[in-house]
């Protein structure tokens, strides 16, 4: 969104053209493009676990794993956690190598409103893998949209 918004401003369209009051959901293609370019992204291998409801979004636990033998020939290179609603979409990036072990990560995230969280992984064969999860951030529900 930031990119699009800046683009709009650059084009002199500003608010008049963009009725958005708050951060809007970034479409998937636009969200992933900076990382995957024009390469295909497929569902599978990545598993993202996150509760369907979060109270205030300040501290939302999640767990993500990527199925991979993690050998020198076949391993996970990167894992990205992306938000389609946060002011900064990239929440975290993890780099692995053959010396890493099974990709099984838990962390706690900040989610700026109800959104889709993306876990995007690239394997050593260059392919991109994706899992997503919808999260309703309830505290801002009353304030969203208006």
């Amino acid at each position: 969104m930031n990119l699009r918004r800046r683009l709009l401003w650059a084009l002199g369209l500003g608010w008049g053209a963009s009725p958005a009051l708050f951060a809007q959901h970034v479409p998937q293609e636009q969200l992933l493009q900076p990382y995957v370019g024009f390469n295909p992204v497929q569902k599978g291998r990545v598993k993202l676990e996150i509760a369907r409801l979060a109270d205030n979004g300040f501290n939302v636990p999640l767990k993500v794993s990527v199925a991979s033998p993690m050998t020198a020939q076949d391993h996970v290179l990167r894992l990205l956690l992306l938000s389609n609603r946060n002011p900064r979409p990239l929440m975290a990036a993890f780099d692995f190598g053959p010396g890493s072990d099974q990709v099984l990560i838990s962390t706690r995230t900040r989610l700026g409103g109800s959104q889709t969280v993306y876990a995007l992984a690239q394997t050593s064969d260059g392919l991109w893998w994706l899992d997503t999860a919808e999260v309703e951030v309830t505290e801002s529900a009353c304030l969203d949209q208006t």
Partner: protein, 736 residues
Amino acid sequence: MTTTTMKNQNQVALTRRQFVVSSAMASGGLALGFHFPAAAQSNELSTLGGSEINAWVVVRPDDSCVIRIARAEMGQGTHTGLAQLVAEELECDWAKVSLQTFTPGQNLARKRVWRNMSTGGSRGIRESHEYVRQGGAAARIMLLQAAAAEWKVSVGELSVEKGVVTHAASGKTTSYGKLASQASKLPAPDPKSITLKHPRDWQILGKSPRRLDTAPKVNGSLKYGIDTVLPGMQYAAIKACPVFGGKLVSFDASKISSRRGIKAVVRVDDESVAVLADSFWRAKSALEVLPITWDFGANGKESSATIAARLREGLTSTNNVFADIDQGNVTEAIQGAAKKIEAVYGTPFVSHACMEPMNCTARVTADRAEVWVPSQNAEASLAALAAVTGLPLEKCEAYNPPLGGGFGRRGGTQDYVRQAALIAKQFPGTPIKLIWTREEDMTHDFFRPIGQCRLVAGIDAKGEMVGLHLRVSGQSINAYVSPHNIVDGKDRRQLQGYWKDPGESQLGYTVPHLKVEYAMRNTHVPVGPWRGVNTNQNAIYLECFIDEVAKAAGKDPLAFRRNLIKNHPKHLGVLDAVADKGGWDKPLAPGMFRGIAQFMGYGSYTAAIAEVSIKGNDVKVHRLILATNCGHAVNPVQIASQIEGSVAYGMDSLQSESSVKDGRIVEKNFDTYPIARMYQMPKIESVIAPTYDFWGGVGEPTICVVAPAILNAIAAARGGKPVRMLPIKNEGLRLV
């Protein structure tokens, strides 16, 4: 954790039977047409002896229809309106409709088939009308398909009225009750294939059937959250640090532990302490004398005066200010104008003061947590409970009885749920009913934010407004609640009603040179959405100032507005409607004065005329005429209820204030915090003027025009002297 021992003799395991009994009591009984979720261990929603046609509709063999309602009912008639929406498309007999609510756990178990459960932002109906009507229509189609299959005819040959299906050619009839079982086995029709009825063809919508929830409200049988009773339950009274941001240091439980009925004194979190007893009064009385040491921190020095000074600085500062609208050259236009008008308005913090004080009953064990809580968003209560207990959502449940008022206080911020769960966690298995005293409620609210507004206008020789420069300086709700929602540091929410964007809360006036700015100036006082949110303050600032400008231009306030608003026909429509019904052009009795105002919020257009007289310092509001274009009118009499209620709430904007001294709120109860009462109420006329080309809100939009209409009448009565700094007691005035 500081606790005294708590005897657990009351920790009785609740049997299934006890649960049924207590929840039947808690529901007010099935006979009353409401089916509240039984506090069951299962996430499956009962079909109450009928067949579930789809998520929204259950039909029973006796032809009665049960309509599932997702949203919270806090008094606005949302439940009745939503049921009308489904029933209209279902084509059932309204007299045989009853409602069923469910839990957020049940919603989650079905992958949120019922979607959003929250009531707030005047969105209960306008956000869900389409999918709930589709739910009703889909059920109708399936019931007709069942009849067609049985009679081996095509659906097109059938007609339905009040749940009775007729095949005209053969003269056969049957009813929904007989078709339900078969219909429930049919696949759901594609939503895209469904055409919803045109409002012209409405039979149940646009009419005013009685509310479905009135009967238990006139005999005391309706159970609110505060009425929850569970076996072995203990009562908790709580006190948070009176200074926001301050901390609880220590307390001396020994001073009260020998009092009758006291079970425990506990630290709840960093800032609050609770007393548990076998009676709320015992808990509260003990808490009143509990020696507590607080660390007030730096905020202890804040006061209304320090806050006002910060806001004043924001009115003219070049720091941390942004322009949401900056068209033309407002500075030049005003400098070159024939006349310049300037004013500074101010609105204080105000409290929600729901009649039912904040409360929550919680029971937490190692593997299950439940709350019974009046909440505008049961899913938010559930999420808060899960966060506090650390249990997964599947092991938590929130039961949501009807609310004794919400007004935005019981929305996203679930502080009372957190507190109750934090206490209950310390006593596994024992239900804890936490009740806030009114004093706690009024001093630990999420207040309507404080603000000031500087307005400068220029008028030309013909009396036309050529330039308007408006700057709001005040506290941001988003900065407090969800700062990440502020895009590029620009909190547009605070300018609600001044937006150029159409649809939600659009400025109706067209001024050649216009600048609308916001300077964020925050305080340590928690703020949140207060019914109508920023439209309340923003309508006062602009609509009172417009009267000042009209007066300076020597023009009639209505005519002056009509000229400015002509590019926005819907804004003009309600203004004209209220002027017509309010008889703006007709003379008033001697001593009576009129004021007018218009604004837009929550997708709806509103306007008001107030008739006022002043004797000494006593302001009497005699009559208010209020017009709304809410797009579609689902239940006109209930819309009128909301408009009438808006008058009472809007009058708070005139007389109420939560002021700050030594970092804390001064007004603690209704003896010092005035609330509109019967003797102050004017006669109210509602003008409902829907254009049936959009869906707007009803619960909030009309509130914001009440205060400016009255203030403009007050100014007229005082020879044009406006009240700019609210509440009106600042000018020695009071409402009688």
